[in-house]
């Protein structure tokens, strides 16, 4: 799974050589396995607010080893920096610097998670500065961490507690191996919606999920992850990919639906299949997408239209059908796969970036439409992911692309799938209209 270079520099002579030469030293990331400990050591909860106390108590209730003060030389699994009551940028100093003293004690693949409030809802410029300051702080810290450790942040809307379901859900996601390739990112919890799962290992138990573009790559990984988390999975792909699709369906004990999602009736067909075969429909993952790269100067109508039709128009049409359906009303979840290209742009991908930017716009605008049914819609934007598609990139280009992030390696399809599985869970109900990048904090873009 991990690329050969990462394997080489992770141990033995390769490790020494890389160190001496100052070569990138990617590590084998801690990825989620059922039954695995949430973090590789005790959790230090920094912060003096009520929210910090409540959060520490909640973590204790999860049977975790929680510290409110650092113990010298003790290796830490995570630092949770609770900064929910800042009025002024000066308030950052104490908690941040005391956390800084513990950074050297972080175990490999440890986590730093900040919990703060959204700048947009700040009561005044000073508090907005403090809140926005955390953004820059966190992203910089993420770049400073080594050995597979990541830093991510949770931003709470005003009125949302540090222990609201989605705050805890997002914290659990960031602490766990599920977020291995998510680094330097924020998730905003907009409301107290959502519900923590009865069994954290089966967060999708009882759910029926549809994954488009599931015949291979990221889509297949999403199907497998949703199945592992307890969902009944319907895998969808174009009829021409039916053989691979069948193999995925059978491996996740689900059903295959051969369907071109750009057909007019695709949404109807998806609902009909899910409800007809499995009795309900809770989750739709818009993963299907195509690329037809060409510089804009050389772009033709066919390349432009096909990419826009599949990557955004089809999602919009299917969402219309879902929103109109009586069978998609019980806290439904939609997660779309966007792309860092849609955020930061990519040479030769004007059509693709337009479509993926479109996905982000669509997600933000659709979120309010799902609110009254307690639904949510979010996007995940993968960076460099090791797939059959990226394997076709020329070696040198690929080698550069996969190192251009804080974790100095490409992500796995499963990393994208983990983020999607989290956003599709009940625990993420308070998170909507968000775009979560799964890119190892790619240097390109936001």
């Amino acid at each position: 799974m991990t690329d050969k270079y990462t394997q080489f520099v992770s141990r033995g002579i390769g490790k020494d050589v890389a160190k001496k030469l100052g070569l990138p030293q990617p590590v084998v990331l801690r990825r989620y396995q059922p039954g695995q400990a949430l973090v590789p050591g005790p959790i230090l909860v920094q912060g003096s607010s009520d929210g910090a106390d409540e959060l520490a108590a909640a973590l204790l209730a999860w049977d975790l080893d929680v510290r409110r003060h650092a113990v010298p030389r003790e290796k830490l699994g995570a630092i949770v920096l609770v900064l929910d009551e800042l009025d002024h940028a000066e308030d950052l100093e104490r908690p941040v610097l005391s956390a800084a003293a513990s950074l050297r004690d972080l175990a490999p693949n440890a986590r730093v998670v900040t919990v703060s409030r959204t700048p947009a809802s700040a009561p005044g410029p000073a508090s907005a500065a403090a809140r926005q300051g955390i953004d820059g702080l966190l992203r910089s810290l993420a770049k400073e961490l080594r050995a597979g450790a990541t830093a991510n942040g949770i931003m709470l809307a005003d009125g949302v507690n540090t222990t609201s379901p989605s705050a805890l859900g997002a914290l659990r996601f960031f602490l766990s191996g599920r977020s291995a390739f998510v680094d330097g990112q924020f998730l905003t919890v907009a409301s107290g919606e959502g519900q923590l799962p009865a069994d954290p290992e089966k967060p999708l138990a009882g759910k029926v999920a549809v994954v488009t573009g599931a015949a291979r790559g990221i889509g297949a990984a999403i199907a497998r992850t949703l199945h592992r988390d307890g969902a009944t999975v319907v895998v969808v792909d174009i009829p021409a990919a039916g053989d691979h699709l069948a193999a995925v369906a059978n491996s996740v004990r689900g059903t295959a639906l051969q369907l071109d999602i750009s057909r007019e009736d695709a949404g109807h067909r998806i609902i009909e299949h899910a409800v007809g075969r499995h009795g309900r429909l809770d989750i739709v993952i818009h993963n299907a997408g195509i690329t037809r790269d060409k510089l804009l100067a050389n772009m033709d109508q066919g390349r432009w239209n096909s990419v826009l039709a599949v990557n955004i128009a089809a999602q919009l049409r299917i969402n219309d059908a879902l929103l109109a359906s009586r069978d998609f009303r019980d806290s439904p979840r939609i997660v779309s796969v966007a792309s860092t290209s849609g955020i930061a742009g990519n040479r030769g991908q004007t059509n693709y970036a337009a479509s993926k930017g479109g996905v982000i716009g669509m997600v933000r605008a659709t979120a309010p439409l799902l609110a009254e049914r307690h639904g949510s819609i979010n996007a995940v934007a993968p960076g460099f992911i090791e797939t059959e598609m990226t394997a076709r990139i020329p070696f040198a280009t690929r080698e550069v692309a996969r190192r251009l992030n804080s974790l100095q390696q490409g992500g796995q399809p499963g990393d994208v799938a983990e983020a999607i599985a989290f956003l599709a869970s009940d625990a993420a109900g308070g998170i909507t209209g968000e775009v979560l990048r799964v890119c190892g904090q790619n240097l390109v873009g936001a």
Binding site: V235, P239, A240, L245, S251, A256, L257, D260
Partner: protein, 456 residues
């Protein structure tokens, strides 16, 4: 010519009355849930190196994926192949073991030449109706590319005797019998063992006997290609087919063929048989590789698994003709089976909404239709007052058939049953009754198997 015919009236007992099962209950319905096949490939094409077991497993896995049957224990799986290696003695069970089905699913092989696929459907449907099983997968597969090649009789006997020989001198003596000509392999052929005539030559005789013109045959072939291409374009096969080995469509399909192109082809059958040769590569099915499967179930099983119920398997009938002694054409058995089946069910050709007549050759279909329209055939051979009747051509093979799709012998029945079940389900009701379809498949050895399906 004989003057005695095969009576079109069935036995006195009527099948319409519900009969008691061994378990004491009434006969249940057997429903077609759906089907799956791999695209059919012309011999020597995409599946050249794929074995029967490979292809049957692929077709099964696609079916399992479509209906969420992974790890499911199915009542029974029945399938077969016409061209079969000796190593494939347990072909279907081996395919089941290689599939995503529960390894506790039993299976058996069946072989009735080109009727194999339809006969597996009828056999399993009967078991479901009787309450012996609740679910079944019927199917068939054939590879003309990966066909078995036998050693010559001479070499075979030497090898068997060699195996029996106990001492070195005995073995040397046995080996001494071997002659160079014994080393030439014995390839399978489609010739009828009792007549030495190939199937095409037999059909050429029948085609000439019924005075079927070249133009009529080419027209049927053209319509088959056009209908199949339209069905693909409409997405009809999206939930009937799973790609295999890079193939998404039947490789024999020529969507752009024209009557003019078909008219240029030279006759390939019947050139040495006296009559005018009219049968070409265009209006005959090519040798093809492929596999198909059909999921059958009781209503209760389908409901419990939240699966669709497309159609019911109403009834089936087999017939055979004495082609050895020139009484009837080799592939004319369905001409007798259909009238008997219709009579037993109190139906006429007018009560059928879809006709699926397997296109072994265009001449086969047209000869059968001609026989049904023939007064004398109706009177002397079918024991009717006159002709059986005409088939409305707009109801015939509306989504194409074997001339366009190809015909991997044992796989054709499953292809037709699954497609017809879907068409019936889409049509729903006609004049207040369920839409009804008739399947007719001719087979080597002068046999034919036919069946009636109704929309559920």
């Amino acid at each position: 010519m004989s003057f005695t015919g095969q009576s079109a009236t069935g036995p006195e007992e009527s099948s319409t009355a519900a009969a008691a099962t061994p378990g004491g209950g009434l006969l249940r319905q057997a429903v077609v849930v759906g089907g799956n096949r791999i695209p059919f490939a012309r011999t020597g094409g995409a599946y050249t190196k794929s074995s029967n077991q490979d292809m049957l497993t692929a077709a099964l896995d696609g079916l399992i994926a479509r209906f969420g049957l992974a790890d499911e224990r199915i009542g029974e799986v029945a399938a077969g192949a016409v061209l079969k290696h000796s190593r494939d003695f347990n072909l279907t069970r081996e395919a089941v073991l290689g599939s995503a089905l529960s390894a506790e699913t039993p299976a058996y092989d069946l072989q009735q030449a080109c009727a194999t696929g339809l006969e597996t459907v009828l056999g399993l449907a009967n078991k479901i109706k009787l309450g012996q099983i609740d679910s079944g997968i019927a199917g068939g597969v054939d590879s003309a590319s990966d066909a078995p090649i036998a050693v010559s009789e001479g070499l075979r006997e030497v090898l068997l005797d060699l195996n029996r020989a106990k001492t070195l001198p005995q073995r040397l003596k046995v080996l001494g019998r071997l002659r160079p000509k014994d080393l030439a392999p014995d390839a399978p052929n489609t010739g009828e063992p009792r007549t030495g005539l190939s199937m095409g030559e037999h059909q050429a005789l029948t085609t000439a006997q019924w005075k079927i013109t070249r133009e009529a045959q080419d027209q049927l072939a053209y319509t088959s290609h056009r209908n199949l291409a339209a069905a693909y374009d409409a997405g009809f096969f999206d939930d009937l087919l799973t790609p295999y080995r890079g193939l998404n469509r039947d490789s024999n399909l020529r969507a752009d063929t024209t009557l003019e192109k078909l008219a240029t082809l030279k006759p390939v059958f019947g050139r040495n048989l006296g009559a005018e040769a009219t049968m070409t590569a265009g209006n005959s099915t090519p040798l093809t590789d492929g596999a198909s499967t059909v999921l059958l179930a009781s209503e209760e099983w389908a409901d419990a698994h939240e699966l669709p119920k497309l159609a019911t398997v109403v009834d089936g009938e087999a017939a055979a003709v004495d082609f050895v002694h020139g009484k009837d054409g080799l592939l004319m058995a369905p001409a007798f089976a259909v009238p008997r089946l219709l009579a037993r069910n109190g139906l006429t050709l007018d009560d059928i909404d879809f006709f699926e007549i397997h296109e072994a050759f265009a001449g086969t279909v047209l000869s059968t239709l001609a026989a049904w329209e023939d007064e004398e055939f109706g009177r002397t051979r079918l024991g009717l007052d006159g002709a059986l009747g005409s088939v409305d051509r707009s109801k015939l093979n509306v989504n194409g058939s074997s001339l366009a799709a190809g015909h991997p012998f044992a796989a054709t029945g499953g292809r037709i049953v699954a497609s017809l079940a879907k068409m019936l389900h889409e049509r729903g009701h006609v004049d207040g009754r369920p839409a009804r379809g008739l399947i007719s498949i001719c087979a080597a050895g002068g046999q034919g198997v036919v069946a009636i399906l109704e929309a559920f």
